[in-house]
């Protein structure tokens, strides 16, 4: 029993060294391996890996609330987008200090300088702290109202989906002062480093990998603690938990805010790597896709979320270049097949198979 449990845990933990290896491989693959070698990574490839790692972190954030706690958010793009937009505000400020040219959309609006509140975004560290605080506050306010009112299941999913759509419509408006449908772009520097520099791009991708590793270790620790057991208990029978003396809405709120902050951090790393943010980042489509990644990988397993996000997005980048018009059908087909034949997702199914062969596993 002890041995099988140890094996089970070590397999799960295996993703940490794998991700660290990927992290180390990124600079090595670009600088040390000649371009002629198949193992060489182009800057495009490195950038792609960095973006996918951000999506994996986003999926991990959703799995924390959906897989562990049973809250299916179809609006996690809101928090991802908040991180993205707030980071873009910092980047625009940095670009202005660099070029002394106001962003186009501000010029069109007749502004001669950044709005006063924009000073908050002069420093990267302050921006990160403000983003964390703001995301936690928004998530906290939403969670407080909904969880206390005992809004659950599909109703909560619909509300989150509606909110992300509403936020997208809001951001489309030029007068909001966040660039309207063109969004914000023209970034030049981050923390003093030139964004177009190879080392900066590699650095961002490495940061994305490392943040994913740290977040995974943290969330996994949380999931295995009594707190995590309590979240699973809320997922399986919330009423029972209440009758045992648990304030379940407080438990859900804590998990929800943490998840929102992780999603925002993912957005903060994503935007400098793609070089633009616009309202499509909070489109309902992206928010639904996050749930698809988690479902394909296997919800409630944490690793499944990461694996699902990497597989689907890897496949998407590859296939949408080859066969752009067919991609949506492929994604829909894969999703159907997996949800019908492998209800636990890819990783969940693997784990179940492993436990049947005596390797000891559970959700």
């Amino acid at each position: 029993m002890f041995a099988t449990k140890w094996m089970d845990q070590s397999i799960e933990f295996g993703i940490v060294p794998v991700l660290i290896l990927v992290t180390l491989y990124l600079p090595f693959a670009y600088f040390a391996i000649p371009a002629s070698n198949a193992l060489h990574l182009s800057l495009f490839g490195i950038n792609l890996i960095g973006q996918i790692m951000c999506f994996a972190l986003l999926a991990l954030a959703l799995d924390l609330v959906w897989g562990l706690c049973g809250i299916l958010s179809l609006g996690h793009g809101i928090f991802f987008g908040m991180g993205g937009y707030l980071m873009a505000m910092y980047l625009l400020n940095a670009a202005y200090l660099d070029t002394h040219v106001l962003p186009d959309f501000m010029q069109y609006m007749g502004a001669s300088a950044f709005p006063a509140f924009w000073h908050v975004f002069e420093r990267l560290d302050v921006t990160v702290l403000v983003t964390i605080a703001l995301t936690a506050a928004v998530a906290g306010a939403f969670g407080f109202v909904t969880f206390r009112s005992r809004i659950n299941g599909v109703y909560l999913s619909i509300i989150t989906q509606a909110l992300t759509y509403a936020l997208m419509l809001l951001l489309f408006i030029n007068d909001i002062g966040l660039g309207g449908n063109n969004g914000m772009t023209g970034f030049t520097r981050i923390a003093g480093y030139r964004l177009e520099a190879v080392s900066t791009q590699i650095g961002l991708a490495v940061c994305s990998c490392l943040l994913l590793v740290v977040a995974y270790i943290g969330v996994r620790f949380l999931a295995r603690s009594s707190f995590g057991r309590a979240l699973i208990a809320v997922r399986d029978d919330e009423a029972r938990m209440r009758f045992l003396g648990y304030r379940t809405h407080t438990l859900k709120l804590l998990a929800w805010c943490l998840s929102a902050v992780l999603a925002a951090l993912a957005g903060m790393l994503y935007v400098p790597q793609v070089g633009i943010v616009n309202p499509t980042i909070v489109s309902p489509q992206l928010s639904v896709e996050i749930a698809v990644w988690v479902a394909i990988g296997g919800r409630g397993t944490l690793i499944g979320a990461i694996v699902g996000a990497i597989l689907v997005n890897g496949l998407k980048f590859w296939l949408s270049a080859q066969l752009p018009s067919v991609w949506p059908f492929i994604l829909a087909g894969v999703t159907l097949i997996i949800t019908v034949y492998f209800g636990n997702g890819l990783w969940g199914t693997l784990k179940a198979a492993a436990s049947n062969t005596g390797m000891g596993a559970r959700r």
Binding site: M1, R229, R240
Partner: protein
């Protein structure tokens, strides 16, 4: 001993519960006392489960009083607060955390929902750990501690849920049909388990349809009918009550 025995645990007076025009409970008054095992019987729709819902804070009464120890007004509190006062409830359908180990179910129960931050790092105290072991023994699941609760048999799940109430050493235990769907052997063991819950510091209330089971465990039987108290007394007395026979036992 005798003074403790007569002390009131739950005091109910003039209780009425109406749902959109339907009267589930009408002007009900009764007292549940420490040291006794009380059975509440009655035909379907008599208001038995609604009564439990009111005591545990799931349903707010339309009117009337419900007090714990004659001092704490339970109608003003929610489920969580009432659970923390030491009122434990077992549901009709086994209601356990199927994805967790049997032991983890009890560990969550003993923590009682206090200190969410501490839950992220702290382990149980020595005393809590021993208490979980003790309860595992009482409910006959010592060897199943590391089993996933969802894989237990129906009877074992019922016992686990009773165990989840027991770890917290509650003052009031409400059991909604604890032997429904059990084999005779399981029922016999449940009788032992519930008889073992009797203590001068505890009131035990059982809702049940199985008359033989009620006769075996109950000190006092209350009969509900259409949301009202029809009679109260020993099983023998209730069995011979003409009105009870007419509405419930007689056919």
């Amino acid at each position: 001993m005798s003074t403790v025995l007569s002390e009131t645990a739950i005091y109910i007076s003039g209780l009425s519960v109406r749902f959109a025009g339907f009267a589930a409970i009408t002007n009900l008054s009764m007292e549940l006392r420490y040291g006794e095992i009380r059975a509440i019987i009655g035909p379907n729709g008599a208001g038995k489960t609604t009564l439990m819902d009111v005591i545990t804070g799931k349903t707010r009464p339309t009117s009337g009083e419900v007090f714990l120890n004659k001092t704490i007004d339970l109608t003003q509190l929610d489920e969580t607060a009432i659970a923390r006062l030491g009122i434990g409830r077992k549901f009709q359908k086994p209601s356990i955390f199927e994805a967790l180990y049997v032991r983890e179910n009890l560990e969550l129960a003993i923590r009682n929902g206090r200190g969410y931050m501490a839950m992220m790092r702290s382990r149980l105290t020595r005393e809590q750990h021993d208490r979980v072991d003790e309860v595992l023994k009482m409910i006959g699941l010592v060897d199943e501690g590391r089993r996933i609760a969802g894989t237990l048999s129906h009877g074992q799940k019922q016992w686990l849920e009773i165990g989840m109430l027991l770890v917290g050493d509650p003052h009031v235990i409400l059991l909604d049909e604890p032997v429904a769907g059990m084999t005779d052997h399981e029922t016999a063991r449940t009788v032992e388990l519930i008889a073992g819950l009797k203590s001068p510091q505890r009131a035990v209330v059982v809702i049940e349809h199985d008359m033989d089971f009620v006769g075996e465990i109950a000190d006092l039987v209350s009969v509900l009918h259409e949301g009202q108290l029809l009679g109260e007394g020993s099983m023998d007395k209730v069995r011979n009550d003409a009105r009870v026979i007419q509405v419930y036992l007689g056919r």
